[in-house]
């Protein structure tokens, strides 16, 4: 079955892939079972077993999230694909580089500094952060600005859980995220591809939205280094690069921060970068996307959804805004 860990370096034969209708009917059954309260009788384990990683990393289970939109009923991307096809420029610019090079990253000890316009700035150790709120499993679509997408079961909790602890002041209009940039541990940081460290930001209301996830794990295990260990952001309605990996600093700001990609190519990577099939990247259409791992070489691309399909949940954040201008 396609959710099970893959044999190293091998593709699952198509005969092993559950047909879509069988898969959907099982999902329906699970939903029904959930509605009937059966999941409380030990059946919830089924959900967790579906999203298991290969068992090489520490387990990090999460309870099924109740956040609206937090549990996409779609076929998961294989763990193999989700951990070997990555953009994480600190470890190289090829998609296969992070998986090759990220083993040099040390994720313990790890602290995250909370700074800026807040009543309670401070430093959190990763152990404190792991205990700060209950772990939830969320299945999100992930859409990269390059035109491909995945479906990943993340484990973590809403970013707002952490932000609230810092008690942001009325002046806090934006939140800025800074990624680790250590030449000794990250081979890609020696290149001048971006102005390190990697900076990303969100508007305060975006950051407080329950779907904005602070993720510590995926597929029931802690994050692999190449996916942003030990903690990263996942903002499912925005292009992937908005979700900073291996975060070391979170800062509340009065002014809109300048993200690394905006700095590198302002006309191409705006501050908002909401997934939007109607607003093309200057050099390519965003109307469709390739789902990674789906049906191999001759798979058709699928249409991209407004806000990556999270419009019912986040659409109101942008009411009245010109999303062509605020791309």
């Amino acid at each position: 079955m396609h959710f099970l860990p893959q044999r190293d370096g091998q593709r699952i034969p198509s005969s092993d892939i559950t047909p879509r209708d069988v898969y959907d009917s099982r999902r329906d059954w699970l939903k029904t079972a959930g509605a009937l309260g059966l999941t409380g009788l030990g059946l919830s384990g089924t959900v967790q077993a579906q999203t298991a990683g290969p068992g090489k990393l520490a387990k990090l289970p999460g309870a099924k999230s109740a956040v609206p939109g937090g549990f996409a009923l779609e076929k998961l991307t294989s763990y193999q694909d989700a951990t070997t096809y990555n953009n994480f420029y600190e470890f190289g610019t090829d998609k296969s580089d992070p998986a090759k090079n990220a083993h040099t990253l040390k994720t313990r000890p790890w602290t995250v500094a909370i700074e800026g316009e807040c009543a309670k700035p401070g430093r959190y150790g990763i152990e404190d952060l792991l205990k700060l709120a209950p772990m939830e499993e969320r299945i999100y679509r992930l859409r990269c600005v390059e035109g491909w997408s995945m479906v990943v079961p993340w484990v973590g909790y809403s970013l707002s859980e952490l932000l609230k602890k810092a008690e942001p002041t009325g002046k806090a209009k934006y939140v800025e995220f800074t990624t680790l940039a250590d030449k000794a541990q990250m081979s890609g940081v020696r290149s001048g591809v971006l102005d390190w460290p990697y900076i990303e930001g969100l508007r305060m209301d975006e950051a407080m939205h329950p779907l904005a996830l602070l993720a510590f794990g995926m597929y029931g295990e802690v994050l692999p280094n190449q996916n942003g260990a030990p903690l990263r952001l996942v903002v499912p309605w925005k292009y992937g690069f908005k979700s900073a990996k291996s975060i070391v600093r979170i800062r509340f700001l009065e002014q809109q921060p300048v993200s690394s990609w905006t700095k590198a190519a302002q006309q191409e990577y705006g501050f908002y970068s909401n997934v939007n099939p109607k607003v093309d990247h200057p050099r390519w259409s965003q109307a469709s996307e390739r789902r990674i791992g789906e049906d191999g070489l001759f798979a058709k691309k699928r249409p991209t959804l407004m806000f990556n399909g999270y419009e019912p949940q986040v659409g109101q954040l942008y009411a009245g805004m010109d999303l062509k201008k605020n791309y």
Binding site: R11, K95, W148, A265, H281, S285, R290, K301
Partner: protein
Amino acid sequence: MTSHAPAAAGRAAPASKARRHPLLHPAAKAVLFALCLGPLAWLVWRAFAGTLGANPAEAMIRGLGDWAMRLLWITLAITPLRQWTGQPTLARFRRMLGLFAFFYASLHLLAYGWLDMGLDLADIGRDIVKRPFILMGFAAWVLLVPLAATSFNRAIKALGAKRWQVLHRLVYVISVVGLMHFIWMRAGKNNFAEPAVYGGILAVLLGWRVWKKVKG
């Protein structure tokens, strides 16, 4: 300039020389032909084995494009290599290499149109107009067509050697347009390491020609 005339010099060589010179071996062209098919065989094999990675369509399209460019660069390297190494017989391989560059460029275009665009001609048309890097790639391929179409001996006679030569100097323009296609594609992610390598090699290959011309 004989360096631009089609390569047939090797055929006239005496048999005794053929034994001494591996480049004149009767099987040399067949070996080169097989070598040139190698990258395609490797890509197709990996596609069947499922080892093209998480995005096999992208790997296929890029792999074919890489080899189109590499073979074009190798073709352009024949003349300088011939002079540097004092091996005039190298010229007999140039046409095949150039045709293989065209072959891989065509497969690259086909793979893009099919795997990326689902063979939707209207979509492809819009994409070419909208995306400068696609336009560049398409232009490079279009410019290669008349060269490939006039690559046989009778075409030289029909065109006249002089006009044929002028036409085939388009290859310099094509190589620059092809490189721009590559640079522009990578500019999206600010990643110029590979285009810099190809650009550097092309600068040497074309710079050498300019230098020769200036020196007379």
